[in-house]
Symmetry: C2
Subunit: 522 residues, 2 copies
């Protein structure tokens, strides 16, 4: 994600929290992976982005290929990988009398092998495109690239050698890294093999996003966003159970709030812990719900106690946006994420997220015996719930509305169900109506689709939930996904909020939740 | 240089010589250099390649420049440098939410800052063009580039940051390296300040080419060529007096001859000592003359004794090309360098170099008391001298001719003088005639111009020698040379034997000889 609004924020650094987070830094698991095939990418209108990876020969024949100026080869590593590339390069012919100059292009998808990155015209930085041009002065060379890449495919183009020699690649390997321990994952069985496959690919997606922190995407942005963390943590409790990584990331957010105590939407870990200057209404509240989920999974009372002030502060800040009627003020001065959707009004879904958060914060206050805070929040919850029904529920439409134009969106209905604003059977009716009426303001990201499926499961609409999951995540599988994507709109498969699909992330944390939904609700 | 003829050669490795060479590996002197100015390059038809470096502001203002996508800055390091770049880069704006992507272009000449390297269309490898595109993941960053560059100018182009931040370069430094000890150089004074300046720039040229070995050019090819070594060694005896470096390089050539005992035209030092598969008639003979010069400078009898068999073997191989008349066979099967000149016939100048070498080899054999070898060579010298007069001297023309078309070239006359084929006064007449008649087959490189000037000095035509030096090397100075160039043709200043002047080397060993000529002959 990327947001351009800048405000002046001061960082209130909590050294002790930062040190605790640092002490929980995971040791990465490392596995050496070899390519499976040499491939070509060919046009195919039936495939996503119109490109298909076509195997040419087994990868063990790579070492026989001799490449001179203008030659290229594409390696397929068989599955999505996050890690470090090593190439063993040898000269063929006379002693190399000039450096080897080559371009390496890493791609999660065939389109990244097929379309030139120089055609990229999106609005976020082209620097995320995974391409390097490299000079190698000494051959033979065991080249180790210092940067980490996220990819399945690697295109090697020899830009030049010299008229006197060419090169061969004797070996190409990736040292794949993750902080996820695959041995910890229990088996999952189901009569429907598609659901088993969806579970497997969800776990692989989570695995590749689990690094020093829960990253949003290993290709881009490679950092810790609260919205992603919340969902990754849930999937993690059902699979890898690396609960210390969740704890570490919670402490990191709590270590660097702004002068008002608000936690940032995302953090940078290098060169040291730095909060982004982006603050999102919903994401700050998710600090509190993520702590709630963490406590449910771990019963780690000590952490709960220590992080409670930060969690409660997010609620206080969230409540401050309420107007006299108990409804969130909607104007140009705030950002709430909800979904990547230009026309989506964020007021009502944010209101629902405030309610969703209040319920969990009240439970935590109760656990901690924070009576005063608990009572305050209970009073607020009552008022906000009433206000929501009075001002945002439209009985004639049978939908909640958002913003001054009374927008009816999928996001609003889904979040109102998750926030349990109506009674359970009314929630079921609402979702049934939603699936029938299909409002125009739809959902664009796996992140938002996750919330729909969880809402359906919550109100016992299991068949609809699984059908949706198979339509959506199963749809990505049918398109050849090795890991689930940041963006997927079945009606507009080229969709990118960034203006160009080359920059999309094709292994993205917020898409990993089916394993959680399947393992927790079935 | 680059030659494309490949033959099958076996390396006869002498481990003991190789170890001796390795034990003489120099420790490099390191100096940190800061830029002097920010510049722009502007079109100017009066300047070489039509480009001029125009100072914009002092380099200490660099740190105030803020560069975003598409911005660039050009640094001028004040003089030619060979070394390693360090950049201290800091972000400006929000925390960097995407890598910095930048292109660094290093240039010895303004043209390299002005013309896109993608326009390069020469026949030798484009991989010598000094350009890197780099991603920097973490900012601030103290970036140290691993490769060595040869340059005065550095262009930094920011290809992308992100909409949320830009960058500043707080510091840019070069760690300049050389194995030349500048403290060893004696002063040189002369009434003519142009000659003093030619001497200074010669020494700087040699200094920047003196690394682990005597390199031909630090930009390209960065390796040890016998033809360059011979001239560098001469300039070195007059200046830096790093005689061990000459000794090291002689042992290196002697360590890896082919199965016939012939030394290669050039050597690679990485990943280990490897002789090129290029063998040049004249260059192999220069092993012997370089050993001769080394002994004159050092009186190092032990080295002379140990390397004599290699030196003598080169003479034997050289003599094998003689036909029944005592003239070198001229056909398609051989390479002799002499000069970069497509139309130059190499027969007669090579014949002269054989004579030049025989004279020195005879002297060495005499020193060593190698009577048999000495007598053999004396007999050959007599025959070859007679044959040269009979078959190559054309009394009516007053010139030596070369090849089946009886070509009259500058190179042939110059080398016949250096080989002392005629008597001293006849040599003077020959050179006077040469300067007057100006045959069409001229000289293209400082390497060949050196031999003309040395020939003039040898026959006491000092005025003509200095005039020529001022016209030629002084001409480069007038064009703004910081170091002397690989190629310079005053009549065709864009000349490149490689098809494009961007790939020419503008600090080249074989151009460093004026300091030797001035200090030894004046």
């Amino acid at each position: 994600m990327s947001f351009q609004k800048n405000q002046t924020h001061e960082v209130k650094r909590n050294k002790s929290f930062e040190e605790k987070a640092e002490s929980l830094k995971p040791t990465l698991f490392r596995h050496v992976i070899e390519p499976t095939n040499l491939i070509d990418v060919v046009e195919n209108k039936e495939k996503i982005h119109n490109w298909e990876a076509k195997p040419l020969k087994p990868a063990n024949e790579l070492s026989e290929e001799v490449l001179g100026k203008g030659d290229r080869v594409i390696l397929d590593f068989g599955d999505h990988q996050v890690g470090y590339l090593q190439l063993h390069i040898v000269p063929v012919g006379s002693p190399p009398d000039a450096p080897l100059h080559m371009r390496l292009t890493f791609g999660e998808m065939p389109v990244e092998m097929a379309e030139s990155f120089s055609s990229y015209d999106g609005w976020i930085s082209s620097s995320w495109l995974q391409e390097e041009t490299i000079h190698v002065d000494v051959l033979p060379n065991q080249l180790s690239l210092p940067r980490r890449y996220s990819f399945r495919y690697l295109k090697i183009e020899v830009l030049d050698t010299s008229p006197k020699y060419k090169v061969s690649f004797k070996k190409a390997t990736v040292e794949a890294v993750t902080s996820a321990d695959v041995c910890k994952v229990g088996s999952f069985s189901h009569d429907d093999p598609e659901l088993v496959e969806i579970d497997r690919v969800s776990i692989k997606t989570l695995q590749d996003c689990m690094q020093d922190v829960f990253e949003d995407g290993p290709k881009r942005d490679r950092r810790l966003w609260l919205g992603d963390l919340r969902l990754q943590a849930l999937a993690n409790y059902s699979t890898f159970k690396n609960n210390d990584l969740v704890k570490r990331n919670l402490y990191q957010f709590a270590a660097v709030p702004n002068q008002d105590g608000q936690v940032s939407a995302n953090l940078f870990n290098e060169p040291f812990l730095i909060p982004d200057d982006t603050f999102l209404y919903d994401y700050s509240l998710f600090f509190t719900t993520t702590l709630y989920d963490y406590f449910q999974a771990t019963k780690d009372y000590e952490t709960l106690e220590e992080l409670w002030p930060t969690a409660y502060r997010q609620v206080e800040i969230g409540l401050k946006r309420l107007d006299n009627h108990g409804i969130l003020k909607d104007d140009e001065s705030w950002w709430s994420f909800i979904d990547w959707h230009q026309d989506l009004n964020k007021q009502a879904p944010s209101q629902a997220i405030l309610i969703y958060t209040l319920r969990r914060a009240i439970s935590l206050a109760d656990t901690l015996g924070k009576k005063e805070e608990q009572e305050k929040m209970e009073k607020h919850l009552k008022l906000v719930l009433e206000a929501t029904i009075i001002h945002l529920w439209q009985e004639d439409l049978g939908f909640f509305v958002s913003g001054e134009n009374a927008q009816v969106s999928w996001a609003t209905q889904v979040w109102m169900v998750l926030a349990e604003v109506l009674q359970p059977e009314k929630n079921q009716e609402l979702l049934t109506r939603l699936l029938e009426n299909k409002p125009n303001i739809e959902m664009n990201t796996p992140y938002m689709h996750h919330h729909l499926v969880e809402a359906l499961l919550m109100v016992d609409m299991k068949k609809e939930a699984l059908d949706w999951m198979k339509m959506y995540w199963g749809g990505m599988l049918k398109e050849g996904a090795d890991t689930f994507w940041e963006l997927y709109n079945p009606k507009d498969k080229e969709f990118s909020p960034y203006g160009n699909h080359l920059i999309n992330s094709y292994c993205h944390a917020w898409s990993c939740t089916p394993t959680y939904l399947l393992r927790e609700y079935l």
